[in-house]
Symmetry: C2
Subunit: 258 residues, 2 copies
């Protein structure tokens, strides 16, 4: 949706095609070179950063809407996308936006009762990916994007800082029983590789010995009878995720560890 005509039609009549009062926000975590990043889009004119998001079509299943929005914004569609929370504690959420500013910045005439200016709850989804694979799409409202350090996110639109915080908390809490990180490591990896991934996501140091014991005890990974040769005296053993458990988890969204 990039032309003025398309966008104007959406603004004036979108409530006929989409459900009003409820939107989707995506927190897209990118992992690379031991850093955890978050994808933000810059709103044209407003000079503010926000999360990629969108609305649910009238007859579209909720999870399909989330995958469609992710695909539209990042051109990726085969990710583990997880719903984590609904944000609706601000009684004027979104509705406090100025229609006049909207008209000035984007040239779109809107009435005070326009559906985009009504109170809107937002359903948060997160995904974790290798961020070099992402082909970010800006649109009519946004003109730039940036991967921000997860520990240094700027002031975002509405209550989106709270959305990011909750996503991060959920990601960290579920790292030991959700299939998080599955697509971020090679199929066979060393303990230092998964150790670094977990330390980066959790944002703290983990005792390496206890960490590997824990992952083995939870049944998340298994040791292979194979070593990787990386030097004369260094050939660490390789590990892989417990495939069946993870495939089950990708279906159900949860690894049953207890």
């Amino acid at each position: 949706m990039n032309s003025f005509e398309e966008v104007n039609y959406f603004v004036q009549n979108g409530h006929q095609d989409y459900l009003p009062h409820i939107s989707i926000d995506c927190v897209i975590f990118g992992y690379q070179q031991q850093q955890l990043k978050i994808l933000l889009l810059k709103w044209k004119g407003l000079n503010g950063w926000g999360l990629p998001g969108g609305f649910i079509k009238r007859r579209e299943p909720l999870s399909e809407a989330a995958y469609r929005i992710l695909q539209e914004k990042t051109s990726l569609n085969d990710l583990f996308l997880q719903q984590f929370h609904v944000f609706g504690d601000s009684p004027y959420r979104v509705g406090e936006r100025s229609t006049r500013e909207f008209t000035e910045k984007f040239g779109l005439e809107v009435q005070a009762d326009n559906w985009l200016f009504e109170r809107t709850l937002s359903i948060g989804y997160f995904a974790l990916m290798d961020h070099v694979k992402v082909n970010v799409q800006t649109d009519f409202f946004t003109d730039d994007y940036q991967w921000w350090d997860a520990s240094d996110v700027p002031q975002l639109l509405f209550d989106q800082n709270e959305v990011v915080e909750k996503a991060l908390l959920t990601l960290r809490l579920q790292i030991y029983h959700q299939p998080i990180g599955y697509n971020l490591l090679p199929e066979k990896f060393t303990l230092p590789e998964i150790h670094t991934l977990y330390e980066t996501i959790l944002g703290k140091e983990l005792d390496q010995r206890n960490f590997s014991k824990k992952l083995m005890a939870l049944g998340l990974i298994q040791k292979l009878n194979e070593q990787r040769s990386i030097g004369a005296h260094r050939s660490p053993f390789l590990y892989q995720f417990e495939k069946e458990k993870y495939e089950q988890a990708l279906k159900e969204g949860i690894v049953h560890t207890y």
Copy 2:
């Protein structure tokens, strides 16, 4: 809301006071005498069972709406109530109800485009309580309630069986890092008491020795230098929840165990 006039006004004009397209469903777990139950309400005439629920007022914070609905249905208001998932994968959710049947059963005239018959997503919340404390309120639409065994829930309205299943899964998954069960044990309890509670919620046997080790290792409970005398040769040690950690958790919703 019990009189015909009140209900008729709500049905015809409720969308002016409440947000359409989005509702709240409450899964209320009751624990007593080593059994885990779920509260269901019986819809008048429809001969079907459903979850207590309601809508969000136009300017009401989401979590306040959840507590208000819980209070209206159970007369309880000081519980730990937890949002766990939004259900919206059925593109005709609720909308498939027959307006004619509605008119026949309840004597309420409704048009095909009535707001209660539009597609409605539902936000699931759960609470866990001692069920003797609950004073269940039926209303215009419901004429009976029952505590059903969690493992034997009947066919429910819409997709509410899925709502119950997901609540149960979440409860079980989070039992080791959420303040679940805090209000179900005496302040000072024995290991067999908390062991039984956890076995009942998880619906399976837990090795008692490993279980208490795990709770101690996670820092969820602490052993007191106190014993309860329950017979000539029986005086088990008492334990209590790690208060500070749990109070923090009740605020943030999560115990940070790693």
